[in-house]
Every structure is written in C-alpha cells, then in structure tokens.
C-alpha cells in the first residue's frame, strides 16, 4: 500500500561476482523500481565501498529519500556500516532495511533463475517492511572500567597484563590453585628451545605483583548476567584451607600428609599429597588442600573424621588417631565395640572388595594407646552452668562438648553408676565395664561433674535446677523401661523384663533363671538377654521374634555368635499367651506370623497364620521387645508436650522443647536406640544450648548434608589390588562358657595396619590435622568455607584453554594395556626438570630407552576421532625428538602424515631435527602391538611402498588438542556458543577470530582453536585491544530494540510478566494498572509480544505490522507491479 510521504531508495549490490554471477541484478533492480513507494532503484558493484556509499548519500540528499533498502550481503556483515551511511545524511539509522541476497540467496544455489526470483521476493519483503519502520534512538550506557579474564594460562596472563598496563583494573579468575596453564607443564618450547618456565614465570610474577590485577585463584565463574559494558559475574572461591598470604611454601605439611594421589600437573606420571602445591614456582605460591567428601564421615551421625584416623593408624600414629576421634566422641573404645557402623555401609571400598572394618580400627587405636596420662581439665571460660539429666551416651556426649566450650556442666544420674545403657544394658562380653569406666573417668577429669544416685523429678525437680542457677537443662534419660507384652500369663513367675534382667546382671545381683529360657524379641537387646542367659547356665535358650530371619533387626554378627553359642532362633513367631503351672511359666503359646504391618497411626499389627498355634517350652520368659521412657523426671514442668508414645516432644533440628532453656534428646525423644545416634543427639543439644545461652539463633545454618550428593564420584586409584577384609579374632567357644569375658579380641598391629591401608581416601584430605601440627606460620585452617563474590565488569575475555585427545579412544594404540606407551604431554612431564623423574627420560621400569617412536596425528585429522588438524603437534613432536637426542643416545623415529611447519623458524627447526639423525617415516603409525615383551609399531614405509614393523622401547602418541571437557557448560554460563568441535565459536573466522557472538565477550587462546604460543599471545592481545577500546570509549551504544506496551490495550493479565526472562516488566500501580517495560532491563527478545492475548505489546523495530508487511512483500510474487 502506498504510504504518503514515504520515499524509498533500493540499492542492489553486485558484490563483484558474488551476487551478480548468479542473480540478474538489472532484472532485480527493474522489479524493485515497480514496487510501492520506491522512488529510485539502482544496482552497483560494491555498495559498501566509498563510491557506493556516496551514491546512496547523494540520492538521499537530492531525491529526498527517507527510507533505504540495501540488497547485498548479510546484515550481520554490514548493517552497522549502512546505518552509518544514513546517519551521515541526517536520516535516522533505523530507516534502513537490508535484504540478504548473498549468503542466503546467490551463494546457496547455482540456478540463476531461481536466485533472481528469490532476490526479488526478499527485496519485496524489505521494501514493504521499511515503509513502516520508525525512527528510533539508541541509548548510550556507561561502560564499567574493569575487565574480567577467565583462565590464567599464557593467554589469560597476557590479556590481563595488557589491560592492566593500560591502566584498567582486571580480575583474573583461575580454576586451578596456580596460574600458568599448559605452558607451565612444558619443558622447552619450539622453535627456540627456550625453557618454558623461564619465559613464563616472569609473566606470572608480574601478574601477582600488578596493582591493577586482582588474582582469584582456585576460583570459578558460576553465573554471568548483564550486557556489554555492564556484566555482573558471580565467582565461587573454593577454600584452599591455607592462608595464601601467610604460607611460606616450606613443604613441611606435605611431608607428613598420609594421603598420596596422582598428580594432575604431572599428567598422572607422578604423585602428590592431599596438601600440595602443583609445582614449585606456582603463583600464588601457597599450598592448597584437596578436600572432597567421604561417605564415611557424612554417614556417621557424629561426623567423626573417619578417613583421618584410619590414615593415622596406617602410619602407626595411634595417639594422633585417638585424639582425632576424641574431637567428636567421648567414647572411642565404646563405639569401637558396639557401634552399628553406618559408616561401613557407605564405605566405597566395597566397589573393590569389601568395606573397611572401621569400628575395629577405632577400637584398636583406643585399646593400644598406652602411657596416656589423664587429660588436662578444661578451663572454665563461661559463667553459665548447664544441668544434664542422664549419664548415658546422649548426656555424656552433650556434657563432653559443653565442658570443652568452657561451660560448667553437672550430670545428674539416678543409677548408682554412670553410663546409662552402656553401663546397665550392654553385657560385659560386648562392652567390658573397665573399658567404659576408663572413658567415663576421662570425661570427669575434663571437668564434668557426674552425680550418681541423684534422681531428678522427686526431691530435686527441673524447676529446682533452674532456680539453682542452671542456664539450660538437657533431658537425656533414655528409654529404659522394658515393655512386657500384654498377653495372658505375662505376670507369672519366671517372666522378666529384658532391660531389667540385663541391668541386674550388670549391677552384680544374683538372677534366678530356669533351665529353659525363651527370649521374645528380634533386636540386639534380645540377643544380649539370650547370650547372657547362656552364660548364666541355662540349658536351652531360645529366641522367638515376629521378624523373619532376614529382617531381624539385631546385628548379624550377634546373631551368628549367639547361634554358635547354642541359641536356637524361632523367627516369624508371636506369643499369644503364656502357659503356667503352679503359678510359674511352663511354656509359651505361639502363632506363626505371616506379615508385619503398621496401621495409619504407626501401631504394629501382626497378621498371623490361622491354625498355627504351637507351644514352645520355657520355664523363663524374657520380654525384649520395645522400650519406653519413664517420665517421672518431668514432674513440675509446665509447657512440655508428651507424645502418645510417651516420649518427650522436641524440635528435630534444635532439640528445643516448648519450655525455654529446656532441651531433650536421645532415646527419650526418638527411641532410635543406637549409641552413635544417641551421641549425635547429645552433640546437637550442645550446639543448641550454646547458641541459646549466647543469645543466637538456634536454627540457622544447621542443615545436614546428604551422604552421597548427586555429583559424588569416588576415584579408585589405578592399580588397586583386592585385599581381604581383616576378620575380628574371637574368643574360642570353650573359653566363653559360664563367663562374661569379652568375645571380640581386637586386631593385632599387623591386622590394623593392613586394614587401614585398604582405605581409598575418598575425601583425599582426611582431616587428620598432621599438617596443622607441623605448620610453623600456623596458616592451615580446615574450617574455611567456600565464598562467593560478585564482580561488576565492562568486558570479559575467555581464555580457558584446552584438553588433550584421550588415547584409549583409539584402541589400536593399546594405550594403557601395554607399558611404555604414553601421550605427548605425559612425555613432556618426564622431560621436565620439575617432573616426576627430574628430567630423566626413562621407561616404566627405570631403564633408559634405546629407541623411541613418535606417532603423529593421534586423534587428529581422523574421521574416527577429531577431523581437524591440531596445528602444534608436528612441531612439538619435533621438539621432543630433539630433547631425546639431547638427553639420551636413543634412536628416534617420527611417523608422520604431513609435516606442518608453517611458522617463523619452524621449517628451519625441522631441518635441524633431521640433521640430528632422527629418522622420519612418511607413514601413519597404525597400530602398536606387543611381540613377546617387545613393543612394535606397524606402519607403511610409503617411500618404498612396503609395510614395516618397528620394534621400539617407548612409543609417544602425539595426541591433539581438544576443547575442555566442559566447554559447552562454560559456554552456557557466558551466553556464547560452541562450534561443532566444541571450541568456542568466533564471530567471523577470518575477520573477527577473537570476538564471540555476544557483545563484550572476547575469546583468547586455544579455547577458540588449536594454536601455538606466539599465536596465542597475539590472539590474547587482540582481545585485550578490543577490551581496551571498549573501556577507553567509556560508553557503548545499546540498540533500542526493546518491547513497548500500549497501555490502552493492556488488560494487566499479566502473561508478559510471567514470560519475561529478565523481570523487565512490572505492573504499575497508578490508576488503571497496566504492564510497563523497564527499558534498561529489556533485551528485546519479544517473548512477551508473542504471548500478549490483547496484542498490546510489540517490539521496536520488530513490530507485528512490520513483520506482516515483510511476509506480504515476500509472498506478493515477483511480477512487476505498476504504480497506482
């Protein structure tokens, strides 16, 4: 349609022959001239040239044009240039439209008729659209005068130095503990044979010292938002656990570290410790601790540093191991004997053979530390007093932690002895009383007052304790009432409650037992009762339990030992009643159990087999199912909630009850039953009580970590052999008769050390604290945490470097199957004086090789691997040949496809290497085999046209450069794209190889494509120059392509607000509520426009009407149209 006042000039470019050879430019021009509103149509050889641009400007001036259509190359090429042309004439630059008749027309078809028609259609579309285009004003935004460089290899270092030298501030973020990248791993560089470190280190030092560079090492970028000139970057700083400023690099810590793993810097050719520095000249020079997660520590409810003490035991450092355990536990000897061992269930060693015998190791350490004096009493540093009711594991664990925090702690125990269930419920053959007593005495010696025979709840009540000055009170009385089944006959003579039975034995009371004992229950208490009964002389001891054999909750080793001792187990039974004779139990009426179920309220329901009634003979029946707390202790307390299971209600995270200052934990709350859980509960209470007394929030920051997070992966060191789990020696059966001597005898020293050495060191650093002990500057802090910092920068250079092709992907080279086949970077580490062999070139067994074959193009120029040429491998293969000749007298063969030596001095270097007597074979090494014990390379001597076999001592595979494994994830973080090899994609391969497709983000170095060091430095400096140009301008133009809302049509639905990824739209609250766009945040994607049901939103320069017009113009056909 004719729009009044619109005058369009259409210009069809030949682009030399690029367009004109395929598109009939005159026909297209003539067609354009017939379109509506077109005042003039011309064609020209090169519109982008000065005369071309002049021609357009002349027409604008002389013909009064107010719209311009340029039909030429892609707008991505020259749109900005042509917009500039319009601006020069005073026209608004947004009065331009372009038709892409080159990249999307003349270049994609050889059919000239079709290409010409297509060009006409595209111009038809552009002409229709441009008539509706509006004048728009871009915005100028200030550029933050700071830059971010990501990656501290030579590219990142160079870019950072160039920007910083120009006076702008740079943040350099490096993922590894030290900068230096791949170049630091090289021995010498081609073609000059400069020592790589010698030319790199001064630059690394310059970075560290530069006042304009902030180095964030051991850190990673996790989030990027914003736009050119205004980027917001979130950086995660991983904890080194070592203070960089204070570390002197003395290496004492590494010497005592018990954990050794393969060194990444040495490409797995050497080892390092958990605390390490990647190489001697590292910048920063501080050490770093590689600390990951171990499942054992996470699974332990008390989070004991399991890997730590195991490592120390392996080194024979028993006292240190015991001290480490005692950081968390008051009862190492006890736990080493009776713990349920959740750690062993999660131990990753079971991937190799079986989990470690962790508890047995703990017991070994505790039992074998001799000459230990009593502990030094802890100094009381806080005025508050805490009262703990109950001296079982819960109460003592809480007391132990609180006294070490400096509080005054008094434990009130109703029984005559301290220890709770440990003292009164676990038989001596499992836990000898002397062992427990020793540990309780240690707790007393620290300063905890334990008052036995002092019940609370009668003459002394909880309110009394508060009145007497206790700042907080912890109820940890456990669940010590045994529960008798409410069946007929449960009160006959000869029936006993299990826990009372065990308690009587421990207290030394004479217990009258019959000859035929029946214990009812399937848990550890039942086994304790049964095995105690055996020792007290009962002739027949039986256990009946509702659970099946497989689901009996008792510890399997207890069950095994019980059966060895003669106990007969009757699983899947329940007692219907007890038969009496002369008012004494004579037998038990039993029913078989089909199924155990729980109803909606959590009550146990048994489904029994009909008509299965039978009698088990018994003259003594011991009930060992279920425990319950006895709650006399709470008399006088207001506001406490008791649950229907008769437990005290307490918050699961803080253990607070409803009453301020009153906490409850352990079995009295959870009835969970295990010692380690009880201890963990006591520790939790200690934290809560401390926070309460200091007036801090009880809940903050106390979430538990999952045992195995989604990205947990244990690394099983290569070459790990299976080794059997040590089996706990036991007291022979005949020696157990009639006594309560301890059955488990404990590991010997040899057994303990052998078992400890099976540990895989999942967490690497085991937190054994040996490094801390020897660190003179005291700069090791294991409690440091990850930090996040937010940076604001104007431009970003990405210099994240490369990885190498993984040789096992080509199985014909047998890498990893035969010895002495290595990758080129691994060989580089052998050559390097800072490497694992001190620069000596040796085979796996230490011999010097007499012949070496270097195979080129491994994983490169290969359809079965990477199709591209890796550019540098020919040269570094030549360099390595030269180094071999320099260091050894070995014969070197280079098996190549082509020699690519195109840089300055490269061809000369090739000749030099040839002169050294290196034999060059033009024939790709196809296979590496073993004949007997001789390595043989197969190739074709193409010069002679004969297949050859080459016996050598060492094979070096020149593997190609590849993008980093995570390049796609990194690209997403920054909003750039990857090419189809996963290198970062440049904006234009020839003209802009260091621009990404995102304004303000530049690429430096091998992350964009394989290149050598001189080209990397040039590439990095090019990025730096672009960044400096941006920062120096201080302002950048933002295109005004933002969304626009017509308030008349908006119904405030608010679909657009939900859809906008930048939260750029909000409802304004004045008068009629309508949606409004914040132009500073809007990026112009148009998602809102397409979602508006009222058609109220459009995007400037991409309005609905403009697009409709373009569609119409394209589909209107290519017949010449006459003007009205």
């Amino acid at each position: 349609m004719n729009r009044t006042g619109v005058k369009i000039g259409v210009y069809v470019c030949h682009c030399g022959i690029n367009i004109a050879a395929t598109v009939d430019v005159e026909a297209v021009r003539a067609f354009a001239a017939t379109l509506n509103n077109v005042a003039v149509a011309r064609h020209f050889q090169f519109l982008c040239s000065a005369p071309g641009q002049e021609m357009i400007k002349k027409d604008v001036r002389e013909l009064g044009l107010n719209r311009v259509v340029v039909a030429s190359c892609s707008p991505r090429m020259h749109e900005i240039a042509f917009q500039g042309v319009l601006a020069d004439t005073g026209l608004n630059p947004y009065y331009l439209d372009m038709a892409n008749i080159r990249e999307q027309c003349s270049w994609i078809t050889s059919d000239t008729a079709q290409a010409t028609e297509k060009a006409k259609r595209l111009i038809g579309g552009a002409v229709a659209r441009v008539a509706l285009q509006e004048p728009l004003q871009g915005r100028q935004v200030p550029v933050i005068p700071k830059a971010l460089v990501v990656g501290g290899g030579i590219a990142g270092i160079q870019a950072a130095l160039s920007i910083a030298d120009a006076g702008y501030h740079v943040y350099l973020v490096e993922r590894e503990p030290s900068i230096g990248g791949r170049m630091a791993q090289l021995d010498r560089t081609f073609p000059t044979l400069d020592c790589s470190a010698c030319i790199l280190i001064p630059k690394m030092v310059a970075v560290e010292r530069h006042p304009n560079i902030t180095l964030l090492s051991y850190s990673e970028v996790v989030k990027v938002s914003g736009y050119v000139g205004n980027f917001k970057v979130r950086v995660k700083k991983k904890p080194r656990y070592v203070e960089p400023g204070a570390c002197t690099g003395c290496d004492e810590c590494a010497r005592v570290c018990p954990v050794e793993v393969l060194s990444e810097f040495d490409m797995g050719q050497g080892k390092r410790r958990a605390i390490y520095r990647p190489f001697a000249q590292a910048v920063p020079s501080a050490f770093v601790i590689d600390k990951r997660k171990s499942p054992c520590k996470l699974a332990c409810p008390a989070h004991v540093k399991v890997q730590g003490y195991i490592g120390l035991i392996g080194q024979g450092k028993l006292k240190e191991a015991l001290d480490l355990i005692r950081e968390e536990l008051p009862f190492p000897s006890v736990c080493g004997r009776v713990c349920l061992r959740p750690c062993e269930n999660e131990c990753e060693r079971k991937q190799v053979d079986e989990s470690l015998a962790i508890a047995a190791l703990k017991r070994f350490a505790a039992d074998h530390v001799s000459n230990e004096g009593p502990p030094v009493p802890v100094r009381r540093t806080k005025k508050e007093k805490v009262a703990i009711i109950g001296s079982g594991p819960t109460g003592i664990a809480a007391a132990y932690d609180l006294v070490r925090m400096g509080y005054g702690v008094t434990v009130f125990e109703a029984a005559p002895v301290a220890g709770g269930m440990l003292a009164l419920g676990i038989p001596d053959y499992r836990l000898p009383r002397e062992v427990l007593q020793k540990e309780i005495d240690r707790v007393r010696a620290l300063g905890v007052e334990i008052k036995t025979n002092t019940p609370v709840g009668q003459t002394l009540t909880i309110p009394d304790l508060f009145k007497q000055g206790s700042g907080a009170i912890f109820i940890a009385i456990g669940a010590q009432q045994s529960h008798r089944l409410p069946i007929p006959g449960s009160e006959l003579e000869g029936t006993l409650a299990g826990l009372s039975f065990l308690r009587d034995i421990k207290m030394g009371k004479r217990v009258k037992l019959g000859q035929r004992v029946l214990v009812f229950g399937g848990g550890n208490v039942a086994l304790d009762c049964a095995r105690s009964a055996v020792r007290l002389g009962a002739q027949e001891v039986r256990i009946a339990c509702p659970e099946s054999r497989e689901t009996m909750p008792a510890d399997p080793s207890e069950i095994k030992q019980g059966e060895e001792e003669g106990i007969v187990i009757h699983p899947s039974r329940t007692l219907a009643g007890l038969l009496g004779y002369d008012n004494r139990v004579a037998g038990a009426d039993c029913l078989n159990v089909l199924r155990i179920m729980f109803d909606e309220e959590g009550h146990l329901k048994l489904e029994t087999v009909p008509a299965s009634a039978h009698v088990l003979p018994a003259d003594t029946v011991i009930f060992a199912t279920g425990q319950a707390p006895e709650l006399g202790v709470v008399s006088g307390v207001q506001g406490l909630t008791i649950t229907e299971r008769n437990t005290i209600a307490a918050d699961p995270d803080t253990l607070a009850t409803g009453v301020p200052g009153l906490f409850a934990g352990g079995d009295v709350v959870t009835m969970a039953g295990s010692v380690i859980e009880a201890i963990a509960s006591g520790k939790k209470a200690a934290v809560s009580i401390d926070r309460y007394l200091q007036g801090r929030d009880l809940r903050e920051g106390r979430t538990e970590e999952p045992v195995k997070s989604a990205d947990f992966k244990v690394v099983i060191p290569p070459g790990t052999q299976t080794a059997p789990k040590q089996i706990m020696p036991e007291l022979p059966l005949k020696d157990r008769q009639g006594n309560f001597k301890e059955v488990a005898l404990g590991f010997t020293r040899e057994m303990a050390v052998a078992e400890a050495k099976r540990c895989l060191n999942c967490a690497v650093c085991s937190e054994c604290h040996q490094c801390e002990a020897v660190c003179l500057p005291k700069c090791i802090h294991h409690a440091l945490k990850e930090e996040e910092v937010d940076l604001e920068v104007g431009a970003i250079a990405i210099a994240t470097g490369h990885d190498f092709f993984h040789a096992p992907l080509l199985p014909q080279y047998n890498y990893g199957h035969f010895p002495n086949i290595i990758e080129s970077m691994e060989f580089e580490r052998l050559c390097s004086a800072t490497g694992p062999t001190g620069g000596k070139i040796v085979l796996a067994d230490g011999r010097v090789p007499r012949s070496i074959a270097i195979i080129h193009c491994v994983g490169s120029r290969d359809y079965h691997a990477n199709t591209y040429c890796s550019r540098v491998c020919c040269m570094h293969a030549l360099k390595q040949a030269y180094l071999v000749k320099e260091k050894t007298g070995a014969q070197v063969y280079e098996l190549y496809t082509d020699i690519r030596a195109s840089g300055k001095g490269y061809e000369e270097f090739y000749e030099r290497v040839q002169r050294e007597g290196v034999l060059f074979i033009h024939g790709r090494g196809a296979e590496v085999i073993m004949q007997g014990d001789q390595l043989v390379v197969k190739a074709e001597e193409t010069g002679l046209g004969r297949p050859i076999t080459l016996p050598v001592d060492l094979v070096i595979l020149s593997t190609g450069m590849t993008p980093r494994k995570d390049s796609e994830q990194v690209a997403r973080i920054f909003g750039i794209t990857c090419d189809h090899h996963r290198f970062f994609m440049e904006s234009h391969l020839k003209l802009r190889p260091f621009h990404s497709n995102t304004d303000g983000i530049f690429l430096a170095g091998t992350c964009q494509a394989p290149r050598d060091i001189p080209d990397t430095i040039a590439h990095a400096n090019a990025s730096a120059a672009e960044i400096l140009s941006l920062l120096a301008r201080g302002k950048v133009a933002i295109e005004p392509l933002v969304a626009e809302i017509n308030p008349e049509l908006c119904s405030a639905c608010p679909a657009c607000i939900c859809v906008c990824p930048y939260q750029a739209i909000s409802l304004n609250g004045k008068g009629k509520r309508v949606a409004e766009v914040n132009e500073a945040l809007c990026k112009g994607c148009g998602a809102c426009a397409a979602s508006c049901p009222s058609g109220a939103i459009t995007v400037k320069h991409f309005t609905d009407r403009q697009v409709f017009a373009q569609i119409e113009g394209i589909l209107a056909g290519t017949e010449s149209r006459s003007k009205p």
Partner: protein, 193 residues
Amino acid sequence: MAEKVFNLTRDMLDPTFADLVAPDREKLLTCIQCGTCTASCPTAHAMDYTPRQLWRLIQLGLKEEVLSCNSFWLCTACYSCTSRCPRGIACTKTMFTLKRMALSTGVAKRHATAHFYEAFTETVRRHGRIHDVELMTIFFNKSKRLQAISYTRLGLTLWRKGKVSLDAAGVNIKRLDQMEAIFRKAEELERKR
C-alpha cells in the same frame, strides 16, 4: 612400472574409473596417502601394490594396472583398513568392487582366487553346500592342474579319517530350490548394477 615415465595427461586413461570403483567417489579423492590401510592390512606384504598405492592408481585412472595386480584378490575383508582410515574411506568395499570388475571384464581369468570363487559357487549351487572333493577338483581343473598332485597325501589322510567322501549321495540339502532362488536373485541384482 619402474621403466615408464608417466605423462600424466595422456596416461589418465579413464577419469571415470574412480567413479565406477568407489561407492563414494568424493571420498576416494580425499585419500591423503598416509598408509594406515597398508599398515593395518594382514596380507599387504604379499600384494603387488599396497592398498595405499592402489588408491593412488585409482585416483590417477590407471585401470589396466589396477585390474591386473593381485592386491585386491588378497583382501580378507577384515575391515581393519576401513575402521582406521582417517578420511573414512570405505576401503574394503572398494576391494570388493575391484574383484567384481575384474571378474566381469575378464581380466580375472589369470588369477587363482577368481577360480576358487567360481569353484566354490558352482559346488554350493549344485548341492546347497560345499562338497569338498568336488570343490577342489573343479578348482584344480580351472587353474593349476599340476598342483593337485601335491595335495594327494593330504587328501588320503583326510579320506582315511572320514573327513571327505568321494560319493555325492546325501550331500544335497533338502530345499535345493531355495538355494537356486537365492542364486537367481543374486544374478538379477548383478544385472541391474
């Protein structure tokens, strides 16, 4: 080969030879002469021209040289070359094509392997499976009559152990007509090619 100086413009006798031979002509043109195929080939040492040299001859259009050499006859179809060729060239397929071409242009009359293939297909077509003695008889008849004598001892040993039988009774498979149908179909496909 060593005596002639190739004047390449005229000696490129058959520029379409590469088309006929390669399943994918463009692929064969991308050979970079690296020699991986030769190096991987278990029988290359016995060939007149190594596989690599063979692709070169094909690229240059030297049809006579190619069809008269023994290289492709020695191909065991192990596919090592195809699985390792860095250009992704279907080497083994090309070897098969050369065998077919040699047979159809009559060049193959001189090579023992071709005779063996023919003897094999003849006995299989007749019986539905191999009749060992007949196979060897036909083969020796076509190619090396005198060589048959050197096999006498082996033949007697086999016969004594009951491994070969001289009579043809009971050798045929039950559904010989199905085997015949297979052969007819194969011939039909060959004609279409």
